[in-house]
């Protein structure tokens, strides 16, 4: 089945053999959309992918958040989502003394974490895996969470292109926060501009090629004097 845009209440497919997935509901024989987005079917499972709206946390998502509060057994993390997220002490890789939790992560520190559970009352996070943990340096930017799949690209093609072109380390949180870490601030700002470019053009097909040409053009201009000017423009924005 080809992908199509559906609106709430619209019948996507009809027939006993289909199963309702995310964003859909079964009403008699019909699979009905309950959300606005792109409908797709794989192995008889019909689901609707949202293209707009707020970030919906899901198990297994890697997110970037800010420490909001420290409680006696963990940290409250703000991940730009209506339900609060909690990172318990037990989910840290090293032993943490409960009296000195602020030394590990203080309020306003940024952290990369993974969602290991979503229940009605809140989100549980973990940093007990490779690549997760407190962010020490670099810059963090925000893009619309619905554009994250485009920033990552098919099987990470886009993000690998950015990494290769700039030499920066880029971590994209599913909630739309992007952590960029490079050796030079100019490289980090170049990544920032590249990601803004992707977010702006997120509906174009063949975007990876377009970003490649964008890099070729923008990197050629990078003579020292010009780079300074570009940085100034960045501040103006």
């Amino acid at each position: 089945m080809e992908r199509k845009v559906v609106i709430p209440g619209e019948v996507i497919v009809s027939g006993e053999e289909y199963l309702p997935g995310e964003g859909t509901e079964k009403r008699g024989e019909d699979i009905v959309a309950i959300k606005y987005g792109l409908a797709e079917e794989s192995a008889r499972l019909v689901r609707v992918i949202a293209l707009s709206g707020t970030y919906q946390p899901r198990k297994g998502n890697v997110v970037i958040g800010k420490v909001e509060n420290i409680t006696f057994n963990g940290w409250m993390i703000d991940i730009d989502c209506p339900i609060g997220a909690f990172l318990p002490v037990s989910e840290t890789p090293r032993y943490v003394n409960k009296d000195s939790m602020s030394e590990v992560m203080d309020i306003n520190d940024m952290v990369v974490a993974k969602i290991f559970g979503v229940n009605g009352r809140g989100i549980d996070l973990t940093i007990n895996l490779r690549g997760l943990g407190k962010i020490e340096e670099g810059i963090i930017i925000k893009v619309n969470s619905n554009k994250v799949p485009r920033v990552i690209g098919k099987e990470g093609s886009m993000i690998n292109l950015i990494k290769k072109e700039t030499g920066c380390n880029v971590t994209v949180g599913q909630n739309g926060l992007v952590w960029i870490k490079g050796d030079k601030i100019e490289d980090e700002l170049l990544v920032k501009r590249a990601i803004m470019f992707i977010a702006e053009k997120s509906f174009t097909s063949g975007l990876t090629e377009e970003v490649q040409t964008w890099f070729d053009k923008n990197k050629k201009d990078k003579k020292p004097a010009k780079a300074e000017k570009e940085e100034g423009e960045e501040k103006l924005k």
Binding site: V5, K35, Y36, S52, T54, P82, G120
Partner: protein, 234 residues
Amino acid sequence: MTPKVFKRPDGRKPEETRPMTAKVGVIPNADGSAMFSFGDTVAIAAVYGPKKMHPQHSQNPEKGTLRCNYNMLSFSVSERARPGPNRRSMEISKVTEWALEPVLMIDKYPNMVVDVHINILQANASTRCAGINAAALALAHAGIPMKEMVSSVSIGKLDKNLVVDLIKEEEDFEEGEGATDIPITLTTGGKITHIQLDGKINSKELKEVLKLARKANKEVYEVQKKALKESIKF
């Protein structure tokens, strides 16, 4: 007696609505937004949320809450309207909430609120209908789960003639029995979520009104559907 065709001030047929336009994504900062217009009546709606309900004492731990805010901008009418909430706008906000709530599936969002802000940019009657239509589009655009869409239209009775989608001039009609205004909101499935009546009508005529509303609402629905589908370009 010769059957004389009732003439409307703007030359429309009795069952004809004004030209409708709809667009989604008009407010980039909102989580969902839409514009809907019936001729000169233009409404924009912005949806924020679901987000944590503030103040905390109005949180509902059982299910999510819908909060609507209808506002007529001071320049929307020919004589400047005093800005800010008033009796009329507060009533319409509440009525809009009731019209939209039956289709929303926000019971999975406890302690949270979905805010809908409706602003009337230009008014020429049927503002609450345009507002509800814009709000339904904006809610869908914000990715809020909904059972189905809602569409709204006003049916009027001028003397003894039933007409669809009143304009201000018709609302002020005074000949014969005068004017009756009946805004009706229906779901795609044809269920009524909101009906109001301002004036006098008998039950036989009201049945006729519902029949007209069902037909006109289908047209509104098609416009809404088109707006949502066309906002995504590949």
